[in-house]
Point group: C2
Chain length 186, copies 2
Amino acid sequence: MALGTTSYVILGMLRKGAKSGYEIKAKADISTRFFWAISYGQIYPELKRLEEAGLIAGEADPDSGRQRRAYTLTAAGDEALHEWLTREGALHFELRHEGVLRFFFADALDESEQLELLATLRDEHQRLRRELERIQPAAEERSAESGDRFPLLTLETGIAYQNFFIDLCDRLERRLTERQPVTGGI
Amino acid sequence: MALGTTSYVILGMLRKGAKSGYEIKAKADISTRFFWAISYGQIYPELKRLEEAGLIAGEADPDSGRQRRAYTLTAAGDEALHEWLTREGALHFELRHEGVLRFFFADALDESEQLELLATLRDEHQRLRRELERIQPAAEERSAESGDRFPLLTLETGIAYQNFFIDLCDRLERRLTERQPVTGGI
DNA sequence: GCTCACATGTAATCCGTTACATGATTCT
DNA sequence: AGAATCATGTAACGGATTACATGTGAGC
């Protein structure tokens, strides 16, 4: 069976202790969604597929009073996850950034509109940074409990990433207002 | 008619002097594709839609000996483009980064595999940086001819963006090898 | 004559989101 | 009793890629 990157998000989340589709979604929504979003419409059908392929095992979970299906990684599933984590070759990288796209076409704007666009862009990334910072305390707790360090490192990376854009907007704003030549480092 | 962000890429490219669907694709492939990719499968049907909506006007182009259809922005199209460039509200932002995703799950790897993953990640962004640097001379020429400064600023931004990731990999590598605690700035 | 770039188009497919339907349990 | 959360699932839709089909003109 062909696995997409989204399949590995599911395997990875199960390895991190998620049991149900619902839990996978909840975990992804406060972590991987910033660099690989997933939705219920993918999760539930994919859980079935992964079970058929023998990479995960599911059973009705009587522990929780609720009607939920609890999944665990099989040995084959753990192996598949590890194979992906160490696989060689190109990594999927894709960015859709409407702000940068507008910036690219900003010669069609007058200077005040250009500055407004930069402000909008900065606002957007400040909003994202706040969102990540809100997640941080809970992530630190989970890290202390589990001993895992990479989720926290990834979160710090995400904040640094937002700071990159915010600083960039500041620098570009100065560039535009000071009417410096186009050449020279940003 | 509802316009998606991709429609505005087409309008924007026409404003920048592209005439045919082919030219739009060629221009996008050395510029906007890094933050908003488009394909022929979108371009040609969308050109028809935009013409029906009166935002662009097309005619068989006899100038070029070839069978090509040359489009130009109408006043309405120019207005629509400007409206989008100055529109308020959230900007579409989406990232799919398999490298960061693997990094997030990297607690499942031993230390040498973790370092290999970081090396792969850095390679990928170095490759992207080289790709952007290859484009730069031609972009500088076009900037000098047209007087537009934003495409070049965007390209410089893209190179800075790749550098951000490359530097990040270096810092994370040091963090892992020096076995420093998880806390503390990246 | 051959190859490459120019040029247009579409059908199949894939991937993913959104919206909706449904219902149980826990908390207040 | 009512609201919020837990929980599963799917159908419709949208957006985009891939692969293919087709043909012309320019340069070697």
